[in-house]
């Protein structure tokens, strides 16, 4: 499986002050809906980059079925574990892809699924840890469209 490193550009910044919020780098015109969807999950909390790894092919043959694995670095003990993983996209009609609720007994903070990507775009995974901190990673996915001979179907 192709790896997208956690070092990929993340479009979350952190503003100073108590009421930290998710901001968008000017170069990435992230739709307001995506921000709202993320805010819905993280509330007022900071979202830091790190700890989360998103395995998704950088180039996919068909946007209808894109394999994706999210894993989070965590000891997964009773005191220190991943509560949930939330996956978002930039350009589908709806920004949410899925929410996955784990717990200490998961043993390993990793989920896989297959998703739809309407176009080449960014996919963001955010993890909520047991201390209620949020961590994220973003990957770019290029969707090569299927051959033109498929359109008629």
């Amino acid at each position: 499986m192709a790896n997208s490193e956690h070092t990929r550009r993340t479009f979350f910044g952190i503003t100073g002050g108590a009421a930290a919020m998710v901001i968008v780098r000017p170069a990435n015109a992230t739709p307001a809906m995506l921000q709202a969807a993320i805010r819905n999950v993280v509330g007022e909390a900071n979202v830091r980059s790190g700890k989360v790894k998103l395995d998704i092919p950088p180039l996919v043959e068909n946007g209808n079925t894109v394999p994706m694995t999210v894993s989070v670095t965590s000891p997964m003990t009773a005191d220190e574990y991943v509560k949930s993983i939330h996956v978002f996209n930039e350009k589908n009609p709806q920004p949410n892809i899925g929410n996955f609720y784990l717990g200490p007994r998961a043993g390993r903070a990793q989920v896989s699924t297959r998703i739809r990507l309407a176009d080449s775009q960014k996919v963001t995974a955010i993890a909520r840890l047991s201390d209620d901190t949020f961590w994220s990673v973003t990957a770019d996915v290029v969707v090569t469209l299927a051959a033109c001979t498929e359109e008629a179907i």
Partner: protein, 257 residues
Amino acid sequence: MRIAACIALLTAMAGAALAAEIPQAERRSGYGFMSADTKAMQDEDTDNPGMLSVLDGETLWKRKAGTADKACADCHHDARLSMKGVAAHYPAFEKALGRPVDLEGRINLCRTNHQQASPFAYESRELLALSAYVAQQSRGVPIAPGDDPELAPFVEKGHALFVQRQGQLNLACANCHDDNWDKKLAGSAITQGQPTGYPLYRLEWQALGSLQRRLRACITGIRAQAYDYGSLELVELELYLMSRARGMPVETPAVRP
């Protein structure tokens, strides 16, 4: 825009003369053209969405139907034994009809003649599930249709259709699948058009589909009028493709982009 680019590319291909058939040693299943991720989806049964239809087919296999009130299993018993290698020999010559029938057609003959039930519609969930279940019993078996001398004229007709230019783009199947299978079209591999894994799960369809569905999509793609489901032309094309793939292993249920 994308269509325009495709047409330009295809028209360039159409200009070239038809080359020869693919040498035996160079034949490659569509599997060989796929990304590692898509291959993995086919390789593991528990990851392969086509297996959902196989499971569905296994249930239908045991279900009584029609006025005969008989299940496939009542006559054919354990499909793992009775259906092993069967799909690798289809389309086969059907004496009563004097023409070849494909696996779907064969299953529908059992529906009408032996179960006294109405035939399943092409691409219906049931027909796809049963043909996937039957064909999966041939997984790994080398494809070997067309031995029946009565089939020879139909194989020949299928071949003629394969190399015949048609549609607004004036393209033959062979222009892409014999002559340009090592190239790409709008980012996708062209492939050799080997029928090794049908019915198969296409990511594009997000569903299982038959070889006839795939052929119809290609024919529409070259801007020609697609033959109807179940038409003799489609069965002849299927028969030619299967004889062209002789010796390649059955992969049903395959996964393709």
